[in-house]
């Protein structure tokens, strides 16, 4: 390949202070700079984990979140992380950058009561998705991918809630509609839908293709059912696992009821090779997982 050594990505001063300030002033969930820095380190010949550890440590809540992730039972790691640096070494830069994305996601949206509940539900779905990825026979997706996907799947909703004052009512209608797809209801009232918004955000945060595509198609039944849909199988499994996780959360907590399971549940179970009755067997384990989500 012809190389144009015009500007290298590594060690570049991509963002100066003025720009950084502008980024912070804006009402856009920006891609956290730390993610770009980790990605740049990953691509660099002289990876410097220590430097990334220092960058992360500068943000106390980010560091705490990362340490918590590394010590979480998901990863089943024997050692305990005591610093961001430990956590980076234990998780590896790739997984760590995704963990940083999940931690930053919530920070990117200023919280209010409504959003808090929304993120709470997302956290439950994510935790159960990660657990299901591990628990279900013939594992297809990695635990942390399922977890990351669970958190990001509906981030478009948080965005649309912020932009469109009437979106909450749109959501209610979409949740209640037993015939039209969720996104079709949204598109009746908005120029876009949360699946598309979420996909663009996830792509912007450099999440893997299968996660971005799974977000884009997560209300699309044919995408789950058909290999010919062109969706990578990993994406289809992510969709099915998180939909099942959401259904379990609703069964166990009696939380907000949606029509999604009646529309997509059959396809999900088929793909995951589960019977509706198998779900009961998962209740006990799932409850255990939900207790660990705060």
């Amino acid at each position: 390949m012809t190389d144009i050594p015009e500007e290298t990505l590594n060690g570049r001063p991509q963002v100066d202070q003025v720009l950084e300030q502008t980024l912070q002033d804006l009402d856009i969930p920006p891609r956290p700079l730390i993610i770009d820095r980790i990605k740049a380190e990953i691509g660099s010949d002289s990876r410097n984990v220590k430097r990334i550890g220092q960058l992360i440590s500068a943000d106390v809540s980010l560091a705490a979140g990362l340490i918590k992730t590394a010590n979480s039972p998901y990863f089943g790691l024997r050692n305990r992380a005591r610093s961001a640096h430990d956590a980076l070494l234990m998780l590896g830069l790739d997984v760590a950058s995704r963990a940083v994305a999940t931690i930053s996601l919530r920070q990117a949206f200023p919280s209010n009561g409504q959003l808090e509940r929304f993120w709470g539900a997302s956290a439950q779905i994510a935790a159960l998705s990660g657990w299901l990825a591990e628990e279900l026979p013939n594992r297809r997706v990695r635990t942390h991918d399922a977890y990351t996907y669970g958190l990001f799947r509906d981030c478009g909703i948080a965005m649309l809630l912020r932009r469109f004052p009437g979106y909450r009512q749109t959501l209610e209608r979409a949740n209640a509609d037993g015939v039209l797809t969720f996104t079709a209801v949204e598109q009746q009232e908005l120029p876009t839908d949360h699946a598309m918004v979420g996909c663009l955000l996830a792509q912007d945060w450099w999440l893997p293709e299968e996660i971005c595509l799974a977000i884009r198609h997560h209300h699309d039944q044919s995408a789950i059912d058909l290999f010919e849909s062109g969706l990578p199988a990993a994406s289809r499994y992510l969709v099915a696992i998180s939909q099942t996780a959401e259904h379990l959360v609703q069964q166990l907590t009696g939380g907000s009821r949606t029509q999604e399971w009646s529309k997509l549940g059959g396809s999900c179970l088929r793909l995951l090779k589960l019977a509706e009755t198998d779900l009961g067997d998962l209740h006990e384990g799932a409850e255990e997982v939900l207790r660990t989500v705060d």
Binding site: M1, D16, G43, V197
Partner: protein
């Protein structure tokens, strides 16, 4: 010519020769039981030497499974190995001839067989294509694999490596033509060595683009478009792709992205990134139109408008600050989806610019039918300025015509002051080029704009 292979003794001799190969070469691929690449090359050498009497011809059939990368990514490498093993089994059972089977690595196989002639080799390869196309279940999902096959008949005195390379090259030609087909060595003469090199490079660029989308290897650079009064009228966002710390030229990765459909993801990425930069410029008190390039593949999708809106919503930027740059042919595209998308974009207030006007099949008469707000004259007209009076006349007429049709006219590729002076005389509304500034990262653009504001 008689039919030597049918001759029992020669066939017998060949069979024996083929039979001895695995025993003599213990390095078998564990997944397929085929010979490994090195062992395969040795086998080829032995076979070439043996058929010295030339009673039959040797052919090399090079198979590459189409889109195998997708299988691996979708199902994981263990399942991918399973698919490879089953396809290998199909190859083994499809060939009723003495042969040597090689796995060249990944999803590439080579069959070395003795055949009567060229048509027998083709017949054999066809048989393989048919067998490989049979549906296959992976994790209870039905997939239909296909292969690209290249055939090369061995030539007298040829080195084994050169022989196999010809088969490989033919395979790449088959792949270049869309896969699921075969090509004979010689068919690729038109593209030749250069063609092979290009096909390989395309594969490399494709995987680089995939990686860039996941590893933060994409950036937008921005080139200002400066009005007659010296003010920055707009900024064009240009995509940059980095791999291993180096930049890959857009002229090289954009065509590959278009060919593979990756352009849709790249295009959506730049919509959001460009819209965000527009939002930041606005927040700094310098609202500037952001011109973003859009491809045909994007406009062919019914999801184009939701994606455009998603970008506007995420960036929280008004539509009027976004302008889409399209080639002229897109405005004339007959696809109803393209036309509907362009109409909707206009309706929400997004500007439309005709990019590179004057190249391709441009026709001034078409201009009246194009519903664009801006006309960008191709750099080729500007390059000859100010010396060439004819170019000047063309630029001046196109500018007038564009303006009379209600478009702002921008000249691309302005490199020096005398060109700019000529363009001002020709009446263009704005210009873009190295004379003003090269494309630059956002932080450099901000500094450039700040310096300009001070003057």
């Amino acid at each position: 010519m008689s039919d030597p292979v049918r001759h029992p003794s020669s066939e017998e001799a060949l069979r024996r020769r083929f039979d001895t190969i695995p025993a003599a070469n213990p390095t078998l691929d564990p997944v397929t039981g085929f010979l490994s690449r090195t062992a395969g090359l040795q086998a080829a050498a032995v076979l070439i030497a043996d058929v010295g009497a030339r009673q039959a011809r040797l052919c090399a059939i090079w198979l590459d499974i189409d889109r195998f990368r997708q299988v691996n990514e979708s199902f994981g490498h263990a399942a991918g190995d399973g698919v490879i093993a089953r396809i290998a089994e199909r190859i083994r059972s499809a060939i009723g001839l003495p042969c040597a089977l090689l796995r060249m690595g990944g999803d590439e196989f080579v069959v070395l067989a003795a055949v009567r002639d060229r048509s027998a080799a083709t017949q054999l390869a066809r048989q393989l294509l048919v067998e490989i196309r049979l549906p296959l279940t992976v994790d209870e999902l039905l997939i239909r694999p296909s292969a690209s096959i290249g055939i090369a008949l061995e030539q007298v005195g040829e080195e084994p490596a050169a022989w196999l390379e010809r088969a490989d090259r033919a395979m790449l030609e088959a792949k270049r033509r869309g896969g699921n087909r075969l090509a004979l060595s010689g068919d690729e003469l038109l593209t030749g060595r250069l063609g092979v090199q290009l096909a390989r490079e395309e594969l490399a660029i494709e995987s680089t683009l995939h990686a860039a989308l996941e590893n933060g290897g994409l950036r937008l650079h921005f080139q200002p478009i400066v009005g007659r009064d010296g003010r920055v009228e707009a900024v064009e966002a240009l995509m940059r792709c980095y791999a291993g710390g180096h930049q890959i030229a857009p002229a090289r990765f954009i065509p590959v992205a278009e060919k593979t459909g990756l352009i849709i993801r790249l295009g959506e990425w730049s919509l959001l990134e460009g819209a965000r930069c527009a939002a930041r410029l606005r927040a700094r008190g310098t609202p500037t139109t952001m011109a973003i390039n859009v491809s045909r593949a994007q406009l062919l999708s019914p999801r184009f408008m939701p994606a455009l809106h998603a970008a506007l919503v995420c960036a929280d930027v008004p539509a009027r600050l976004i302008e889409l740059e399209l080639t002229e042919s897109l405005f004339l595209d007959l696809s109803p989806t393209v036309q509907a998308n362009l109409r909707s974009a206009r309706e929400v207030g997004v500007g439309l610019a005709i990019d590179d006007f004057g190249t391709g099949y441009s026709c001034l008469a078409n201009l009246k039918d194009l519903s664009a707000s801006k006309l960008k004259l191709d750099r080729s007209f500007i390059a000859a300025l100010p010396g060439d009076r004819r170019s000047f006349a063309v630029v001046r007429s196109m500018t007038r015509l564009g303006q009379e049709l209600g478009m702002a006219v921008v000249a691309e590729g302005v490199e020096n002051h005398s060109q700019l002076a000529a363009l001002t005389e020709a009446g263009v509304d704005a210009s873009q080029g190295f004379h003003h500034a090269r494309p630059m990262p956002e932080h450099a653009l901000l500094k450039w704009m700040a310096r300009r504001a001070e003057k």
